[in-house]
Symmetry: D3
Subunit: 61 residues, 6 copies
């Protein structure tokens, strides 16, 4: 029952996110030998002003 | 000071969530012998299209 | 498929932790109406010198 | 590449959050000797009714 | 700078874990269009007696 | 009651980690106006072979 949490900034399309859920799941199936239904993935979208790199919010980079 | 994070999809009632915060806290008090005020619980509600099982978003299951 | 992560310091007995897994699971079953098998709980035990309250490690409190 | 996640309730000003991102990053730079650009910080703001202390939501404390 | 955290029980081989790090990274590159070097992945291995499904530790399932 | 989780690879000295706990706490006190005792910080040290950047484990970079 691996669970995956992806921390990312907002701004991806619905299709990108849908495909990401599928792709990450498949990576676990392929490499751990677990059935797909045992894998949950949560995408945690953070608004750009609430996430930083180098101390600078992504809204200002 | 245990901290609990619950990852769940959106769609529960306000009362369910209020009771869940209380019930999880009580489980820690009962089993770890900590005072209730030492326990924090955060409910991370993920929109259904951002969480998947088996690679399929909960919005489509 | 709610997933629960509990962040706690090391030092609890095997029995406390076993009961905690059961108790937290039951709190979700009772309050969200999900089947027990849909609930996963992970206990993340942090060594006392790697967790602090008030900036002071639990190993020194 | 340390990553930091801060779990907090909603209600801080934009300036507080901006400064927090900078201050936490600086704490890692100062104490781990990593370059600022290697540090990411995510602020996870939880609505007050979804986070509790002592089993009581912050919206009611 | 998406960051990924995978919560899993102990017991996978070194090669499985190495391939998993690569496979999850590739899933983000493919689906979000980010460079590989922007992606960090952390595998959080939980001992089997500290993680449960249905309230039963994986050490007893 | 903000809680902070820092995901980092192993290999820092005891003193670095002790100072990091203090420094991160102070950053929250300074910028959110919370008392130090309301702040908990957990350092999650990941072995270098279990964390990657660009799909390559830190043990091989």
């Amino acid at each position: 029952m691996p669970e995956v949490v992806v921390y990312m900034v907002e701004g991806r399309s619905a299709e990108q996110k849908r495909n990401l859920l599928k792709g990450v799941t498949q990576a676990l199936v392929d490499n751990l030998g677990v059935p797909a239904d045992a894998v949950t993935v949560s995408l945690m979208e953070t608004p750009k002003h609430l996430k930083s790199k180098g101390g600078v919010p992504f809204s200002e980079r």
